[in-house]
Subunit: 260 residues, 2 copies
């Protein structure tokens, strides 16, 4: 199993606090020692930092923690390898272009029979089931929508139906973003929390660190964090159920479907 | 104009010395203050660091200089914007997948009439003539070679013929890599040097820094550096002529064509 972390916010927000908690699970409080990665959107562009080394010991993770990058959409992943060796090309998140947008994806879980997911235009660079599933999703999207569609919520509902198919093949927890939207799809473990005024204090589960969000925010800020397991010990996280998907835009929940 | 920097090596080599010289040109010794980027290959994977901020003042550039990443293929670029605003999505290098490989590209120059370069499968994310030209090159490659071809030198010769077409539209200096090969195409300014045993000392043109490569190398190392202008003041760089292309693999020149 791996751990996922995502953020959606209405103002550029740094993810240092949550990321501090997550990286502890990459070798200290958790067994996910097979690399990590994080992608930040800035406008239509995005930047990724990745390392096949354990996050708790990674020099690049220290750099990311020491230089707060503010973003409205972030996707991060720490890896415990099951399919594919430990190397850079197998490290999440994966980013590909579709309709002139950068799409970023991270997966937690394991799929059986994934080799039957045929590659079309998008070919995997690495060897993971995760990247093959991502290529397959993008391929289905292109076939269904050759041009960029107008209603993006319909697109994400369609992606959820694709995720339903993938969930039949094993465990498929997913975070996906095109920069504007952050989608969370739950197969077994995924939690989220939306923080807004009045802001309070939060205490990390995995490190001795407390933050008072009131000192770091304005009253209009809305920030949602999605994670495999709650990252704080004193807040109420929403637990997602198998087959549920949640879609966030600029911090707000804008679509939520519980499995039928 | 922008500045390009590329490296091809037969053993993983850090590019700190050359990059130190290049970043000075982003705000100190040169006018290229509109962002910079660098992409390192590691196996089939690659990692990019980019910043729309001037390289001479960039926190991320300091991080890259402080943490030597070793690679056999590197492409870097510092930007002086002509087409497209200063933002992350307009910052080179650009990386896209083709045939299950990461292809990385950086361009120096300016093209006229580039909007007639039709986008097919690959769509630009930003607004630069450079990214549109890259998408067009990849599109032509896919049409000519739907599957990954066996003889990569033929592929690069075909790319050179595409670059010839682009050069008719303005100035088109380019670096391109798929991780194994590094290709340099010259429109007006591009220089390269291959360093091998016996190694000597090199002195940077743009900063007070000298390196003794003999202390950092083994006798079998072969390292080629390509740059818009020579980065050192005491070595003989090969000046490329307009329309020339040079192809390097693991540090060695493997194909060279002077314009017909």
């Amino acid at each position: 199993m791996c751990e996922l972390l995502g953020m959606s916010a209405n103002v550029p927000t740094d993810i240092c606090f949550s990321f501090t908690g997550l990286v502890q699970r990459g070798g200290h409080t958790g067994p996910h020692t097979d690399g990590w990665g994080i992608t930040f959107y800035e406008g239509k562009g995005c930047r990724s930092f990745k390392d096949p080394a354990p996050s708790a010991e990674s020099e690049i993770a220290k750099m990311v923690l020491g230089y707060p990058i503010k973003s409205c959409a972030v996707i991060s992943h720490i890896r415990q390898a099951n399919r594919g060796s430990v190397c850079l090309e197998n490290t999440h998140p994966f980013t590909r272009e579709l309709w002139g947008q950068n799409w970023t994806y991270a997966h937690n879980g394991q799929l059986r029979g994934y080799k039957k997911l045929t590659a079309g235009f998008y070919r995997p660079v690495g060897e993971t089931d995760s990247e093959i599933a991502f290529c397959w999703i993008l391929e289905q999207l292109r076939q269904r929508y050759p041009r960029k569609p107008g209603r993006m919520t319909s697109v994400f509902s369609f992606i959820a139906s694709l995720a339903d198919e993938l969930r039949q093949m094993g465990v498929f927890n997913m975070l996906l973003s095109n920069g504007d939207y952050v989608m969370a799809y739950c197969s077994n473990h995924l939690h989220w929390i939306t923080r807004r005024a009045p802001f309070g204090q939060a205490r990390l589960q995995d490190a001795d660190m407390t933050v008072d969000f009131q000192t770091q925010t304005t009253p209009n800020d809305v920030v949602t964090v999605v994670a495999t397991q709650p990252l704080t010990s004193n807040e109420d996280w929403q637990k997602m159920v198998p087959g549920e998907f949640a879609l966030f835009r600029f911090g707000q929940l804008c679509l939520n479907r519980v499995s039928r």
